[in-house]
Amino acid sequence: MNLLDYLIAHPHEVLTLSLEHISLAGLSVGIAIVVGLPLGVAIARRPALARIVLGTVNSIHVVPSLALFGFLFAVPWIGDRAPRMAVLALSLYTLLPILRNVCAGISGVDPAVVEAGRGLGLTAGQLLMRVELPLALGVIVAGIRVAVVLAIGITTIAAAIGAGGLGELIFRGLAMVNDSLIFAGALPAALLALLADSSLGWLEGRLRERV
């Protein structure tokens, strides 16, 4: 098992880089949720505004991720430290699936249910917290799931600007033409993505079947 040589020889380094990877991806998605949830709620009932906001966020995806990491060098404070740049870039990337699904989830709630709630005398806030968000939660979690898998993948590229994470092993392996080093980075990254995908998929299924 030549491929696992590095893993077995350096378990500590692989573990440290995995944790770094998880915290970079996790923090990025966290920020994307904190921004995307209220923004998505705000644009869900305003189709004209939603088109503009989603179009703008979508255009970020046109920029190749490697170039986006590079552009952020020029940004004050952010550009001082590689992990800051990586988190900002990853947050921008993962904002789209979250924003899109919050928007779709809320505007997809049965209008009869919303109208009944309004007619009964629920305030906009009560309607949001008790009816719209709970009913949209399955779709929102689906967006978070896409965002997490995306973030775990792109975080490997963040190593190119020195942000750390499992990408470091991959880039080192590429430079040294060392397959086992590449796999030592790629395998844990793939496993993390699979784990996140299946657990969030399970949660999504649970939430959707209630509706």
């Binding site: 009869a112 249910v113 009944a116 009964l120 005398g121 629920l122 305030t123 008790r130």
Partner: protein, 266 residues
């Protein structure tokens, strides 16, 4: 304008609803809805009956004219307080699919901050009132029959004991047997509770069964206001068209139901 001293729960004074760029949906409607009785808004699809109902609880605001609720201009009411003063039940029921029967019925008491013991008591009371078995309390709407869902919708509308009840074709989606059953029960319930009810329907039989008065709407304006007995005998061509469409032309007092005490109105 002064304070209305009539015994009307809701008064329309030349109220119109004409959304920008859209058709005129309600055309200078003037109508008094007497307290403690049932007024049926009867009309075909697009006649403005649902829009008229939505003007009452400020889901829509009139673009001209005004309406008074309990003697106060509707636009001076806080919309949330106004809506909680009126129960609201609609055809698609609009039950919250992620809430059990108990939480659906108890939603308004819950947001009003009632203690949970009192909410549970009130829910049990309402379920008994609308003929729902207490064992259904923990069910979800998708686990209920159409008739049971409608009963939950009515119970939810009654939760805060509002003096006014707005109902938009609440029995429209039911099979004929269940529908007749619920109509009969609702008629008895209304006599017991004595609420002001505004009931929207396109079904003449339902209108005559439940209404103390029937307001006939046609393309946004009031085409006539009748008691059920008057509706059956008026020579008005539109009313006659309804009678013949529903096969009531040569039945006279046959099996067309007549509301007891009919004869008020005008």
């Amino acid at each position: 304008m002064g304070v209305a001293t009539t015994d009307a729960a809701i008064v329309f004074r030349g109220a119109s609803y004409h959304p920008a760029g859209g058709p005129l949906l309600v055309d200078s409607l003037t109508l008094e809805i007497p307290r403690g009785r049932t007024l049926v808004l009867l009309g075909r699809s697009g006649s403005g009956k649902t829009t008229t109902l939505k003007l009452m609880n400020r889901l829509l605001d009139p673009t001209a004219g005004e309406l008074l609720v309990e003697g106060r201009p509707a636009n001076e009411w806080d919309p949330i307080r106004l809506r909680r003063h009126m129960g609201y039940a609609i055809q698609d029921v609009g039950l919250f699919p992620h809430y059990t029967v108990e939480r659906n019925i108890g939603i308004l008491p819950a947001v009003e901050g009632w203690p949970s013991v009192r909410i549970r008591e009130r829910v049990r009371e309402l379920m008994a009132l609308v003929g729902l078995d207490a064992s259904l309390a923990s069910r979800y709407p998708r686990e209920l029959s159409g008739g049971q869902r409608q009963r939950v919708g009515v119970a939810r509308a009654l939760a805060l004991d509002p003096p006014i009840l707005l109902m938009d074709e609440p029995f429209g989606a039911l099979d004929p047997l269940t529908r007749a059953e619920l109509q009969g029960e609702f008629g008895r319930l209304q006599k017991r509770l004595g609420k002001t009810v505004v009931f929207v329907t396109h079904d003449l039989r339902e209108a005559l069964l439940l209404g103390a008065q029937v307001a006939l709407l046609e393309s946004g304006h009031l085409a006539g206001l009748y008691t059920p007995a008057e509706f059956l005998s008026t020579p008005d061509p539109l009313a006659a068209a309804y009678r013949s469409a529903f096969g009531a032309e040569n039945e006279h007092s046959g099996d067309m139901p007549r509301a007891p005490g009919a004869g008020g109105g005008r």
